[in-house]
Each structure stands twice: as structure tokens, then as C-alpha cells.
Symmetry: C2
Subunit: 225 residues, 2 copies
């Protein structure tokens, strides 16, 4: 299966707020240029007030924790799970097989800051993370998943277990889960989607949905290892 | 069910290394006294070389991510999951119902530093986290779980699904999962345990085991919500 953490709230500090005092003081503390830092609501809350769609932005921790969860699963470790991060700016990051992410949030930030600036990490081989050419639409065209499923509270109700049992016979289903703190998928994202399902009646954290999805998929495949 | 993140690598900086340069410089950067900070291998690696059992210690991020996972589950949100953290120093922390943990690692550190110093957070009502009197043995005597199960690679092999289906009819089973990065449960911990099982043949991250356990338990209970 393919998992896409989609519209992830992951971006470098935008130019128009890079001179805000909250950003400048944080940049000084970290010894970085403001435009080389990831936007992070924990530190830049005051600066984010002027941003459009601010409520969906500046939460790299969501991607960090969600990736730690899914990259630690037996399915990923055994090569049965491909992982991508699709950002709110429609960038697609490919997570290569066998990647082990820094557990430390500070090191995670450093790694993804380098990735979004340079396009690939590490600079040498083997490649671990790479910004792919083209956005989500291009990814779907390229990877040709047998079906693209979005998990969203606006979708049709269906328990995860049932959903995975229905999809497990497909060669390579792609699942989109939202990598943002609140709100819903944009229309552009949903255009790439075949079906949308709601697996719980209330909003759940991205990492909770991701870990359950991978486990439910393993169970549906009969993989208890 | 009751979940205990057990022997969690969570402690304040020990006195005997509190003057190490790595600790002092980090304390200065954070504006804290060394002995008021959580021991954290990401920052204190050099200082930890002199510590006994250093490989099991200084990983508060494990507790942070594991708690974020389990406190975000429907089972916890609906009152069907009680959560404790049991530390390597045999302290027992009760996580009260309805707790929402800081997503930011820095704020999580601040909260648990206060907790381990003061014994309870926040200072006013309602209580969210509290260090209970007595260690793990006392907790088990007090809570009287119908059975105490440890998940460890040294236990008997059994898939999680099967384990949960066997235990779900009990009134309140208690599960212990290790909150440390490597190694195994201490003998003192295992004395409180009725049975030990291995749910995967290799080591899995604490948060991966925790999220699967809660979901498998929900499935065994027939809770798809």
C-alpha cells in the first residue's frame, strides 16, 4: 500500500513574515536565517496571525510523529508500505525504503529544513528523502495506484477494518490522510481521489489514523508475522 | 483496560552528572537549573557516559510520543482506557481522564519537569498528572487488575489480535509496555506480571506497540464506533 501524508503543514517560513520579531528571535536562538527555518506554530504563533489559512499551517510535528509511527511498522520495515509526504504547497516528498527518522524533534526540523532548501537529503548516497518533481496530481499519474482513497470526516462512514478488507486485494491502493491540524482537504487534493471515507465520527489526530490504518491493512492481509 | 508505559526513560538529571559541561550548557540555553531538567540523550549524550544502565535512560521522547498516540484514541477519549507511566526509578504517574498533552516537545519537557519536581500538575484543579505514592507493586495491589500482561520480545509468541481476543472478557486487564529504548524489563517489574508475550519477533518502538495494542483491544471489544 501507499500512504500519503497529505497537505502536510510543513513549509519554510514565508518571506512576508520573515521579519516579524517572533521569527527573528527564534532564528537568532537557533543560529539560522529566518527563511531557512520551518514554520512552527509553537514558536511563531504571533507571526502567523497575518498568514492566509493560518489554521492549517505551521505544524511540522504532525509529520514528524506520523512518520515515526508508520516507519516503525513491520509493514514498512518489510517493504510493503511506500510513504510520501505531500505538503500544503503541493510539494511531494518521497520517503525512501529503510529510512529511520531522527527521534529528536530538533534534528527532525534540521533534516526537513535542509530537504526543503536543497531538494534531497543527505547530499551523498543513499538518498533518504527527496522532493519529487510535480505535485500530487503528478504523483498519482506517475505511481498509478489501483485506487486513491482519502480518509476524512467528510467521507462516507466505514470502519477501517472493513475498508482495508475491501481494498486489500487491489495491487497497490493509495491512502491520503491529512497532515494538517484542522479543516479539510482542498478541492485540488480531492480531485485526485476516487473515494473518501470517514473512519470515526470525530476528528482524530493524523498519527492515530496513520498507525491504525497500517495495522488494519496488515491484519486484512493476514500478516501477523 | 489499563496501559502502563513501564520503566519509562524519564527522570530529572541525576546529581552526579549535573556539573558536566554538556548539562551546564544546555541548562544555560534553557534558563533552568540542571537538576530541574529531564535527562535527555539528544542533549546530554556526552554526560551520560558515566551513568549506570545509561542505554536504558534519558529518552523522554518515548513517553511523549507514546502518550500522544494513546491519549488520541477513541478508547481513551470515551473513558475505556486508563493510562499510567511507570519510570525506571519506580515512580508511578497517573494520567487523569481527559488529559490533552502538549504537542510541542519543549512544552512536554516543561510539564514533566514540573511534575517530577512538584508531584502534580497543574498546581490548581483539575489534576491532570500526578505522581502516586508507592511504585509499580503498589499500583498493582491498589488497582487490582484482573490480569497483568507484559509485552516483551522475551515472552511467548502470540499475535496481538489473538491476545486481545483472549483478554477482552476480563474486567480490567493491565498491559505493561517498555518505555525505554533498548534492553529488557527488570526482574522487579516482571514480579508484578502474570504473563509475558511477544507480539512481533523483533523489537518495535514503544509507540508502535502502544497504538496497535489499543486498536486491537477496541477491535476485540467490537468497538468500531
Amino acid at each position: 500500500m501507499i500512504l500519503v501524508v497529505s497537505e502536510a503543514a510543513l513549509e519554510l517560513v514565508p518571506e512576508n513574515i520573515s521579519k516579524h520579531p517572533a521569527i527573528l528571535s527564534h532564528a537568532r536562538r537557533r543560529g539560522k536565517n529566518p527563511s531557512e527555518m520551518l514554520l512552527d506554530r509553537s514558536y511563531h504563533h504571533a507571526a502567523m496571525k497575518k498568514l492566509q489559512s493560518a489554521w492549517k499551517r505551521g505544524r511540522p510535528d504532525i509529520t514528524h510523529i506520523t512518520l515515526l509511527e508508520v516507519l516503525g511498522t513491520p509493514l514498512y520495515m518489510r517493504g510493503g508500505l511506500k510513504v510520501y509526504v505531500h505538503t500544503l504547497r503541493d510539494e511531494v516528498i518521497r520517503v525512501y525504503p529503510g529510512v529511520r527518522l531522527p527521534r529528536s524533534y530538533e534534528r527532525f526540523l534540521g533534516l526537513f529544513e535542509q530537504l526543503l532548501r536543497v531538494g534531497v537529503v543527505p547530499p551523498g548516497k543513499p538518498t533518504l528523502l527527496k522532493v519529487e518533481k510535480g505535485g500530487l496530481e503528478h504523483l498519482v499519474k506517475n505511481v498509478k495506484p489501483s485506487k486513491v482513497i482519502a480518509l476524512t470526516t467528510l467521507g462516507k462512514p466505514k470502519p477501517l477494518k472493513e475498508l482495508c478488507e475491501e481494498l486489500v486485494h487491489l495491487s497497490e491502493p493509495m491512502f491520503l490522510i491529512g497532515g494538517f491540524p484542522q479543516g479539510h482537504f482542498e478541492r485540488e487534493t480531492l480531485q485526485a481521489v476516487d473515494d473518501a471515507y470517514r473512519v470515526y465520527k470525530e476528528h482524530l489526530e493524523t498519527w492515530v489514523v496513520a498507525s491504525r490504518l497500517v495495522y488494519a491493512f496488515e491484519l486484512a492481509k493476514g500478516l501477523t508475522y
